[in-house]
Amino acid sequence: MTAYFLRRLLLLAPTLLVISFLIYLGLELTPGDAVSYMIPIEAMRDMTPEALNKMREALGLNDPFLIRYFRWLTNVLQGDFGYSFASGVAIKDLVLDRLPATLELSLFALLLSTIIGTFFGTISALKRGSAIDNSFTFFGMLGVSIPEFIFGLLAIVFFSLQLKWFPVGGRLMPGYETFWDHLPHLILPASVLSLIMTAGVMRYTRSSMLDSMNREFIKTARSKGIPEWRVNFLHGFRVALIPVIVLIGFRLPMLIGGTVIIEQVFQWPGVGEQFVLAVRGRNYPLIMMIAFLSVNAVLIASFLIDLLTALLDPRVKLE
């Protein structure tokens, strides 16, 4: 069992390596380098080209490309992600500062979409053709058609401004630090973020359930005289779940990408908002590193989903 997972992990390595290389290439090709953030622009104007070059030498910035790449890679593996152009602060610190907010948002959205999506998708399938099924399907359609930021805006107008149920944005007020304090702020953005995912999960669960309930083993289960709920859930749903989990894995990049926009709409202080600011300011080191980290997140999450699938489906051969 462990051998299988170690092997899978090892397979990820080449992909990550290639991506890291591309990221570094991007860093090289874009304007600015380590010297740019260390010395403010005004001071740079006063320095002679020789002085600047000496600095570069000292920092090792004139070494051959590959050597610099490996140096960068070793740094990254040790947690040193370079420095931001805008503030000169270590990127690692900048990101770590914001990471919990984004994790909170995305994990909550993932949970919501999985639970709500599978629940309503199953009910849709079991009551196929009924008014309930049709209305769920229609809402699903709406979910994938209306842009998420519009949902966000509408949610703010309706729930925060008109009904005043939830605060308008941001994550917390100074002095209120626990998760429960976050919760009122969290609900709207997480719900909106989960919408697209929920629509997809719901639709896929429905078709997977319909498929599953049509299979022979359902007849066998009924022939044993067990109660209907058991047939529907322990047999039908349990088997239908496996492809749905795989789908959720495929859609994870969308969830992570979604945080970029949602964090803007709700002023949620996460990595996504940070990314947008970095793009606006052409802060290349920050842009690259966040992109790199997001890919890592996607690959790790897919890996975990694979694990989950193997656990759920005994047919997955552990070769």
């Binding site: 083993f217 022939s223 088997v239 005994p314």
Partner: protein, 334 residues
């Protein structure tokens, strides 16, 4: 063994309503199943034999229903009208598994791939007996052993895909027999298996018949299987029974052109390589475009205009019945 009836089917009509059309899959079928005996229902694909079995178990798909007729189960507590029970109601569910059980054609798809064999057998026991979990586990192992599955205490924890084809079918039989049902319905149980494995399964089923006095309803399209296992035979064509009787009667003196044609279309061991095998000419009619009168008429060598009216049932003996105007001709023609 007593000749008591354990199940009676009277004029059963089951219609399908898929594609916005009414298809008369079973159109008036009557037969009896005797305690501890094997009844074979034989016919081509689409003749309605499986539908009859599903009607008895009330396992029909959503877009179909039992239109008319009676299915009477003669239980120890009196007669039960199965056709009047609600499909997944409490009473029907208590019958399924405990009194009447069913095994299906392809054990790979008929077993749930994500649960162990022990779990699936255990489900049957859990809902029909009051055994504890421990007892359920040991009973499951016992059942696997009874079906000649080696190392049953290990096998009981394994999954269907880890079994071989024949073993899977045995496991399914073990699951069906878990509560010692009075009737076992087997829907083409060996079609998906090798011929050598087939023989083993048949041996097993005979053994069950003897040890548990289980009545077996065996659905098949293979006359060879019928000659092996049947005590009684029912021959179906296009939703109707064309001939029924004991195995000796139907085999030795078939009284319907279709039965005759079926028997002539299979090779018989011992008759040599030059034996005459006659395929039945023509093909099964489209159920949505049925011929008038006797359904077999377009393919029959003995028919004439009288056959444009549906033949009435003719009783050739107390047990042997057929539906043909010219049964005498058939009986004499050999």
């Amino acid at each position: 063994m007593s000749l008591d009836k354990i199940l009676s089917v009277r004029n059963l009509k089951t219609y399908f309503y898929t594609n916005n059309q009414c298809t008369k899959a079973v159109n008036g079928v009557s037969f009896d199943v005797k305690k501890g005996k094997t009844l074979c229902i034989v016919g081509e694909s689409g003749c309605g034999k499986s539908v009859t079995a599903y009607s008895i178990m009330q396992l029909l798909p959503k877009l179909s229903r039992i239109e008319e007729g009676e299915i009477i189960y003669h239980s120890t507590n009196g007669d039960i009208r199965i056709d009047q029970l609600s499909r997944n109601g409490k009473k029907m569910r208590s019958l399924r598994g405990e009194d009447i059980a069913m095994i299906f054609q392809d054990p790979m798809t008929a077993l749930n791939p994500v649960y162990s064999i022990g779990f699936q057998i255990g489900e049957n026991l859990k809902y029909h007996t009051r055994l504890s979990n421990e007892e359920i586990k040991s009973k499951s192992i016992e059942l696997l052993r009874e079906m000649d599955i080696p190392i049953p205490d290990q096998r009981v924890l394994e999954f269907p895909h880890q079994f071989s084809g024949g073993m899977r079918q045995r496991a399914m039989i073990a699951m069906a027999m878990a509560c010692s049902p009075k009737i076992l319905i087997a829907d083409e149980p060996t079609t998906a298996l090798d011929v050598t494995i087939q023989a083993q399964i048949f041996e097993l089923m005979n053994k069950l018949k003897q040890d548990h006095e289980t009545a077996i309803i065996l659905i098949t399209h293979d006359m060879g299987v019928v000659t092996e296992l049947a005590d009684d035979v029912v021959v179906m064509y296009m939703g109707n029974i064309v001939e029924s009787g004991s195995i000796e009667e139907v085999l030795r003196s078939p009284a319907h052109p279709y039965t005759k044609a079926l028997l002539n279309s299979i090779p018989v061991l011992g008759r040599g390589k030059n034996q005459e095998i006659k395929p039945i000419r023509g093909s099964t009619p489209d159920p949505l475009n049925r011929p008038k009168g006797c359904q077999f008429m377009p393919r029959c060598d003995f028919s004439d205009d009288k056959c444009l009216t549906v033949p009435l049932a003719v009783e050739l003996s107390e047990t042997h019945t057929t539906r043909c105007w010219y049964s005498d001709k058939i009986l004499q023609d050999e």
